[in-house]
Symmetry: C2
DNA sequence: ATAATAGATTAGATTAATCTAACAATAGAA
DNA sequence: TTCTATTGTTAGATTAATCTAATCTATTAT
C-alpha cells in the first residue's frame, strides 16, 4: 500500500526528474516544502518498497515500478485538472490545488468516468500529455520555441509555465494554442526572436520562447 | 485546524446522534471500525477543541461549534453524492465510498461550483436533506411510513437504507420517490401494511415500512 | 592541497492515529 | 442488594510523517 504522502513524493520525483532522470535530495525537499532529513528518510522507505533507487550521497532515481506508479498519479492529476477546467468551468489558477487533492482518491471507476466524459484526452488543456492507464507517458515530441532556427515555421501546442501572469501575457499577444508561428529572425545577443503569426509580427524574449512548446 | 480523521469522527457523531442527540463511545467506535480506546482518546481531543461535550462514562454530544462543522462535512458529502450520481452518472452503490473521500477536499470554490451545477439542491437523490452553507440542517419533516395510521395518504420522499438490495426491492414494486401512497389497512399482529398506489395494491412488511420515509 | 561551503545523513524528539492488555464503573438480573 | 456482564478508561507500544541539532561528505575556490 502506498500512502498519500508517498504518492506525493513519487509524483514530485517523476516531474522533477523528467529532464535529467534523477533528482538530488535537496531539490526534492525544497519542492515538497519539507526539510532534507524528512525527504531522506522517506527515500529509504521508498527504496525498501522498491519504488526508487537510493544510495547515500547519490541522487534519487525512480525504478520502473516507481515510474509507473508516479505516472498513474500524474495521470489522475492531469485528468482531474482537465475535468475541473472543461466540465466544471473552474479557472486554471484554481484547478491545480484541487487536483492535488483529488488525485489521491481511491476509485478506478471515478477516474474512468472522468476520462470517458472528457473523450479520453491525450493532453491536458495546457498541452501536457496525460499518461495512459498503463502508466506510460507518451513523449509529446514538443520542443521549446527557443530551440528552433530562423526561417522555421512551427505550431504552438503547449506551455511550460501555468502561471496566471504568463497566460495573460500570451492572451495579450493573441498567442493561442494551435497558432502557426514563423521565426523571422533571432537576435544573437539576447536570444530574442522576431516571429510572425496571424498577419502580425512580434518580438518574444528568450524567457518567453523558453516557456512556449511547439511541434 | 480539523484533521481529516477528526472530520470523519464529527460527521459520524452527527449522523449517529440525529435521533437521540448523543452517542455512546462503543457505538461510535463500532461505526468507525476503530477500538474503543481510540475513539475515547479522540473524544478527549475533540473536547479540547470544544467540538464535543465529553465527560467520563457519559455519552458524547456535539457542541454548537461541533454540530456546525459536522453539518458542513455532511453537506459536502451529500452534495458530492448528488453530483457523482446526477452529473457523472455513477451508480448509487459506488457513490458513497467516493464521496467519503471527496468530502474532505479543501476548496470552497469546488463545492460551490458543484452546488451551482446541481441548481442548489435541498435534498440528495435519496431525499436526505443537504445541510445549508451555514451548517444548518433543515428538518425534513419526514416520518417513517410505519408511523402512519390507516386511511392516511402520504408521499414517499426518501429512504432510510441505501443498500442495493433495498433499492432493487423498491424498483420491483415500482415504488418511486414522489409516489402517493394510501394506507388501506394495518395488520395488528406483525405491523405489515396494505397500501395502494398507482392503481395497484401491495402488502409491505414493517421492516420495509420502517425504511420508507414519507411526508 | 586544503579550507570553506553546500549538500546529505544520523540521532533523537514530536504529533496524530491507531493498537493491546489491564483495570474501573455502571446497570440490569438474580 | 450484590453479582456479573457490558461499557468505558488508562497505560504503554507502534507506525507514519515531520522536525531540530549535530555530524559527515563532497565539491569548489583560493
Amino acid at each position: 500500500m502506498i500512502t498519500l504522502t508517498e504518492e506525493n513524493y513519487l509524483k514530485t520525483i517523476l516531474v522533477l526528474s523528467m529532464e535529467k532522470g534523477y533528482v538530488p535530495v535537496h531539490v526534492l525537499s525544497q519542492e515538497l516544502n519539507v526539510k532534507m532529513p524528512t525527504a531522506n528518510s522517506m527515500m529509504k522507505r521508498l527504496a525498501d518498497k522498491e519504488l526508487v533507487y537510493f544510495e547515500p550521497y547519490k541522487p534519487i532515481r525512480l525504478t520502473e515500478k516507481g515510474k509507473t506508479e508516479a505516472a498513474l498519479i500524474l495521470r489522475r492529476h492531469r485528468l482531474t485538472e482537465t475535468f475541473l477546467f472543461e466540465r466544471m468551468g473552474l479557472g486554471w489558477e484554481h484547478v491545480h490545488s484541487i487536483a492535488e487533492q483529488i488525485e489521491h482518491i481511491q476509485s478506478g471507476l471515478f477516474f474512468d468516468r472522468m476520462d470517458e466524459m472528457l473523450n479520453f484526452p491525450e493532453t491536458d488543456p495546457h498541452g501536457e500529455p496525460i499518461p495512459t492507464k498503463e502508466g506510460v507517458i507518451l513523449p509529446s515530441s514538443r520542443t521549446r520555441l527557443s530551440n528552433h532556427k530562423e526561417g522555421e515555421t512551427v505550431c504552438f501546442t503547449a506551455v511550460n509555465d501555468s502561471s496566471e501572469e504568463f497566460l495573460r501575457f500570451l492572451n495579450n499577444k493573441n498567442l493561442k494554442l494551435g497558432t502557426a508561428i514563423k521565426i523571422e529572425s533571432i537576435e544573437p545577443y539576447d536570444g530574442s526572436l522576431t516571429v510572425s503569426y496571424d498577419d502580425r509580427q512580434e518580438i518574444l524574449s528568450k524567457m518567453v520562447a523558453d516557456k512556449m512548446l511547439v511541434t
